[in-house]
């Protein structure tokens, strides 16, 4: 049994990449035109958002695979990717709040992206809670796959609904305008975050798989028993 797996390398590579990108973004890249140094949060915030969405989408794909095949591997995929998505999503909300304070003067606003990520977090936390609640392996697979599919489908709907809702009110300037000098560290950070996420998800998948397979793998069939032979005198 080997103790170092490919996931460890991917994870470490992601961390190194992320570290380099963040050092670049924090110490070498110029301050952002409008937001100054606060704008540097971009290098952690945007990759978190991207990779979080990728993780949710992977969970959605795993959910379809799980419903289709009923296999434990896909089921473990739902769990691993939803976990990664939820952690990234929670970080995203925190970073967004911290960023909103100096730029907009508030911790929270009903901006479509912010609101959508909050709803998204609730949706996928509910999936994870659901998984802990169900005892039977087959039921857990079905139930969490269905909830994951529904949750993922809801994300764009929430976004457009909130966006529509907001357009009737004032809109904040979006931090979307990214100048050229910021692209390279941002891209590097995104890849670092992605590899980190892949490494973590793969490790979580492994431990989830072992735990789930322990509960649901087919055990050996029992040996065929000896047949009874009735004594003739006992016959009715």
């Amino acid at each position: 049994m080997k103790s170092i797996r490919w996931e460890h390398f991917v994870l470490a590579f992601g961390l190194v990449l992320l570290g380099v990108a963040h050092a670049w973004g924090l110490f070498y890249a110029p301050p952002e035109a409008m937001m100054g140094d606060v704008g540097r949060i971009l290098y952690v915030h945007v990759p978190t958002a991207w990779v979080g969405l990728v993780a949710y989408t992977a969970a959605f794909v795993a959910a379809i695979g799980a419903l289709w095949t009923g296999r434990t591997g896909w089921d473990a995929g739902i769990e691993a990717f939803a976990e990664v998505g939820v952690v990234y999503n929670a970080l995203l909300l925190f970073q967004g709040s911290v960023w909103a304070r100096p730029t907009w003067g508030i911790w929270w606003t009903w901006d479509p992206r912010l609101t959508t990520s909050a709803v998204m977090l609730l949706l996928f936390v509910a999936v994870l809670v659901l998984r802990r609640t169900v005892e039977s392996p087959e039921q857990r697979l079905t139930v969490s796959a269905v909830a994951t599919i529904i949750a993922w489908v809801d994300v764009p709907v929430v976004y457009f609904a909130v966006k529509w809702w907001r357009t009737l009110h004032q809109d904040f300037s979006s931090p979307e305008t990214v100048s050229n000098t910021m692209v390279s560290p941002l891209r590097l950070a995104a890849f670092g975050m992605l590899f980190l996420g892949i490494g973590i998800a793969a490790l979580r998948w492994r431990s989830a798989y072992v735990r789930l397979a322990d509960q649901s793998d087919a055990p050996e069939l029992p040996d065929a028993p000896a047949q009874l032979h009735l004594h003739p005198d006992r016959e009715a």
């Binding site: 609730l122 949706l123 509910a126 039921q139 599919i149 709907v157 909130v162």
Partner: protein, 222 residues
């Protein structure tokens, strides 16, 4: 199609036979409405401006009870198994139940509407007739995912907790659009925004009536 009508008829028959339950549900919805006026009041202008929001929150809170109940009657003595063994497609069972739940939610809305008028001094600048499509589309939006999730949590121990946990974040777009549309009907719609909100509600309904209908079969098969 016949199966769908049978399931719908059966669900409404059960609710009619157990109408004392519907009565308690209506009382619950009205109580929630009343509580909002204590929590937010007594500023009449604020309350009037937010009457639509209170109406829909009251309906949303009541809907979890209604939806859980609609599946509880199926599982309490395992009647769902008889339904499954009948030659009915699961989709027919889903649409029958979802329609029955929509109808009950609309009825509940029609009970809560006069109370909203009385408690919050709500008026209908765009005509009270427009409330009917808003109620129907909003109720349908709560009923489709609600019926699916009621089936999903129906056999679990912690269903009272799980159903709202799953349903509430999901129906955010539906709630938002319903409240907006209701408020526009109540306070007037000078910029003709109502049709776009109704369109949003209709798209939400279409999406979830389709997706949940497909997934329902997997949820009730064991």
């Amino acid at each position: 199609m016949t199966a769908l009508v049978t399931v719908l008829w059966k669900d409404l028959l059960i609710e009619w036979r157990a109408r004392s339950r519907a009565f308690s549900l209506a009382t619950f919805a009205l109580t929630v409405l009343l509580l909002f006026s204590f929590a937010v009041g007594p500023d009449t202008a604020t309350m009037r401006a937010h009457a639509g929001a209170y109406l829909w929150l009251s309906l949303l809170l009541s809907s979890t009870l209604l939806l859980a109940q609609s599946f509880h009657v199926e599982v309490e003595s395992n009647a769902i198994e008889t339904v499954m063994l009948a030659p009915t497609a699961p989709a027919a069972v889903f649409y029958g139940k979802a329609l029955a739940n929509t109808a009950q939610l609309v009825a509940l809305g029609l009970v809560a509407l006069p109370a909203t008028v009385a408690l919050y001094d709500a008026s209908f600048r765009e005509g009270v007739g427009l409330m009917l499509p808003v109620l129907a589309l909003g109720a349908a939006g709560l009923a489709a995912p609600g019926t699916l999730y009621a089936a999903l949590t129906g056999r679990m121990g912690a269903r009272q907790l799980l159903l709202p946990l799953l349903l509430f974040p999901l129906v955010v777009p539906c709630l938002l659009a319903s409240v907006k549309a209701t408020t526009l009907v109540m306070l007037g719609d000078p910029m003709t925004q109502l049709p776009s909100w109704l369109r949003l509600l209709a798209s939400f309904d279409l999406l979830y009536w389709a997706v949940c209908g497909v997934l329902f079969g997997r949820v009730i098969e064991q």
